[in-house]
Symmetry: C2
């Protein structure tokens, strides 16, 4: 029985853009594990209530239910050791820093550039929830959050300097081959790719070149994803 995953979808059920769900999709692909994804909307809390919380990704792997992309990566590594996402406990511990950095720096930075674009692609039934919760978080309208992004994007790109330095010295964040660190960052970048036409990266950025390689990994899984 293949793994089942609840995956955030847009108004178009084929549009899958959650950065956390994409971290998990990459991790599953890295392991070579087939997955059946079930489109999920913010309002489908009942569909994942059995996981004991209200956010995706949630996976069902036989009798085991796991929520949260980091916890899912650990579950996959512990139950399907090869190909490895980490290789050893130290690499796993270090990847947790990269995960926390992506959450603290990339997620907020990207949200401020595309939050209204997300609103435009989500299911109509999700829009009131999304607008209210995000406007409360940012303390302004979605339109105001996204305003002036053409000038603000430079500061976001600058905040990615540590990635740029590393990818100038090694092919993958995992070194000679992709690791879960690559899944984290590429998963995060699938968010703007799959719900916006705004370029969060400059074309000549080494991070963009690495991301192109990640799009081609795993049989072109990410390259094939529906875009708006």
């Amino acid at each position: 029985m293949s793994i089942v995953m609840h995956d955030l979808a847009g108004a178009d059920p084929a549009l899958r853009f959650s950065p956390y769900c994409w971290r998990t999709r990459f991790a599953l692909a890295h392991k070579g594990l087939p997955v059946e994804t079930l489109p999920w909307r913010f309002n489908d809390k009942a569909a994942i209530a059995y996981s004991g919380q209200g956010r995706v990704p949630v996976i069902r792997d036989e009798a085991t239910v796991v929520a949260d992309s980091w916890a899912i990566a650990e579950h996959l590594e512990d139950h399907y050791p090869t190909p490895s996402l980490f290789g050893n406990a130290t690499a796993r511990a270090h990847a947790r820093f990269i995960n926390a950095w992506a959450d603290a720096v990339m997620m907020g930075g990207i949200a401020r550039l595309i939050v209204h674009d997300i609103f435009d692609v989500i299911d109509p039934g999700d829009r009131d929830y999304f607008r209210q919760s995000r406007e409360a978080r940012f303390g302004m309208t979605l339109e105001a959050v996204q305003a002036d992004r053409e000038t603000r994007v430079e500061a976001f790109r600058e905040s990615l300097l540590p990635l740029r330095v590393v990818l100038g010295r090694q092919a993958w964040l995992g070194g000679a081959a992709p690791s879960y660190a690559d899944c984290i960052i590429a998963g995060t970048l699938m968010w703007p790719r799959c719900c916006s036409r705004f370029a969060v990266l400059a074309e000549d950025d080494p991070i963009a070149a690495w991301f192109e390689h990640m799009l081609d990994q795993y049989g072109g899984l990410a390259r094939a994803a529906v875009q708006p």
Copy 2:
């Protein structure tokens, strides 16, 4: 023959405050390798000319000369495999991200809080060079760079959120035991500790609690360091 290391010193030759030299001191201690440190000043370019560049740390290990704290960590790991700093190639690749993040985020942030304090402790012969080079870098006087730090320190502390998240979930950046990632961050924090009395961390910050443990590691090496 023990390893010899050129180590930045203040007017007091016992005062050692370079964040890059401290990364190397921690790495050497982690390996249990004895080291003879030679006090070095910014103006002693001739003393390290044999390394082919002008910055410390520089180590001499028998016939091998290595400059740059990251290159030294790799040299130590490759020549003295245990106790390991990384454990595997993936952990090493992930640590490079943490190193780049410390350089991009921590170094600049700390410099803006303590650069005049550094000026106050360095050797009189280094002061003209230091003032000119740093004022050119920041585009303002050392006094202006450091101004208003009591209010600006909050933004610096906020920028350390990824560290705080990780240290809320595991004892060390390396997981159950320190790795080179711990050497990188603790080494960076030895910089303000050893040339300033300004508290870059809040007392109740989990990062401060972890740093206290790092001060006690390796026989209390860092705890024993001379402070201004």
